[in-house]
Amino acid sequence: MTGATMAQQILASHADRASVSPGEHVTVTPDWVLTHDLSTYPVMNRLAELGFDRVARPDRHVVVFDHHVPSKSSLITDHLNEVEAWVREQGIEHFFPAGSGICHNVLAEEGFSTPGALILGADSHTTTHGAYGAFGTGIGHTDCADALGTGRLWLRVPETRRVVVEHTLPPHTSAKDLGLFLMGQLTAKGAIYEALEYHGEGVEALAMYERRTLSNLAVEVGAMAGLVPPDETTAAAVEDVARRAPDVVTPDDDAAYVGEVRVDARTVEPLLARPSRVDNVGSVADHVGTRVDQVFVGTCNNSDYEDIAAFARLVEDETVASGTDLIVIPGSRRALVRLNDAGLTNVIVEAGGMVGTPGCGPCFGAHGGILGEGDVCLGTMNRNFPGRMGEGEIYLGSPETAAATAIYGEITDPREVR
């Protein structure tokens, strides 16, 4: 009998099983179920249709308002009001209203993301929590309603693919560039229904906000989860905030993997995903001079204090190019407060940028900063699908690439700035 990967161990422990095998369907009891404003409304309606009056474990349900904040229409406000009334009626205590931040950032900062936890979220980027050694995965509305009603959900145990990052990233590159590199290598269908497990010096050297960027992008190659083995960095990050005692899970030495990807981090340079595929990856240097109408820094991919501070350091004493809109949206209230305290929101505003309410912003195509026909955006988000953010075209890049690009109004290599 071979050993178990992290994914197998976490799913086994939540299915009350000694071991589970890839391909099996197992019934798990999640530690946390996450819904945001956009998903809670359909989920609560589906819960009633399924025949449940109550959420089985309201103390395990986390609701975060992040997509439509502040609300853009009366209809949406009506929905949000209904959701808030329902949250109170159900006795859901973990409720984070508009302005708290993006659900994944909030879960991480508030100690829900901990080693060994199983987190089901009605949002595809729930893979983010793999950064903490948790198994986080996205599910749909009916699945989520069923999980809330019964307290359980069936999951298919995934095969695991090892990603080994040797050496460390060069200056002016970040976890986003590493993530884009991997997306180019694996392609958008390279890990459908698999769990990724990230190993090597290049991963160990990453701070938690960078690991979140990496795990967040796991879903973009089709993966069910993207797990980083917990270490001292993880322990320090959850020490004072963990809502449940960490259950540190690491892979067995003889765990079986479906395959391995090796990356030499020293070869990673500032990268882009070009319109309109996440795996259409090229180097920033090859696209210098492409005109950009909007630069957007934020989303659950690159919106932590450190992400935006790296951006702000480059635009300090500079001016955003005429004809280019700069939108910066911190991922959480905590990030915004830290940026304020460090004077960095002023740096961005004085450079000509707009700083928005913590939340998802324009990323999902319905809320502020939507592109017009022919517009080009360079953003730090995780998707550039056709029509994702309106009519225009989207390039994905790092916060540093976004800063260099905002200053010149055209795609610019951050290594060329200062």
């Binding site: 949406i76 749909g140 509305h141 699945d143 958008a188 195509g365 998707r383 029509g387 994702r388």
Partner: protein, 163 residues
């Protein structure tokens, strides 16, 4: 669990933003979502779908968002089944939960044209191009998922179980 219908071909990597763009999320009632099906891919697509038609897609169909409104839009537009070379994980679950039959047939794109008639039986694991006479291997759906699909989706399945 047999469906027969006229084929609409789709390429690789049709994502959930193309199937149902973000601007229609939550603002459009479920029963009207069919009108917006595949709006991001081709604004005229939904108008061409007749009840029972079959989508034949390339790899990684439904990648992206967890939005269940995407398969609901296709179902409500009249799509009877989807056959793809592969499906994104969340879309695969959502399709079954909303009662939309799906089958995985690697390589099928090269053997089916727009307008062909396809027969899809997800219980037996049979996909046949009735126009060309070609048949294709596909695994039958696992019994637990088939039960949900045969009930018409997870809501109907639970309602039946509690009756």
């Amino acid at each position: 669990m047999e469906r027969r219908g006229r084929v609409h071909r789709l390429p690789d990597d049709v994502d959930t933003d193309q199937i149902l763009p973000g601007e229609f999320l939550t603002t459009v009632p479920n029963e009207e979502l069919g009108e917006y099906a595949l709006r991001g891919y081709d604004p005229d697509f939904a108008a061409r779908i007749e009840a029972g038609d079959v989508l034949v897609a390339g790899t990684n169909f439904g990648l992206g968002s967890s939005r269940e409104s995407a398969p609901v839009a296709l179902r409500n537009a009249g799509v009877g089944a989807i056959v793809a070379e592969s499906f994104a994980r969340i879309f695969y679950r959502n399709a079954i939960n909303v009662g939309l039959p799906i089958a995985v047939v690697p390589g099928i794109s090269d053997h089916v044209s727009d307008g062909d008639t396809l027969r899809v039986d997800v219980a037996r694991g049979e996909v046949e191009n009735l126009t060309t006479g070609e048949s294709f291997d596909t695994d039958p759906l696992p019994p637990d998922l088939l039960e949900i699909l045969e009930a018409g989706g997870l809501v109907a399945y639970r309602q039946r179980a509690t009756r």
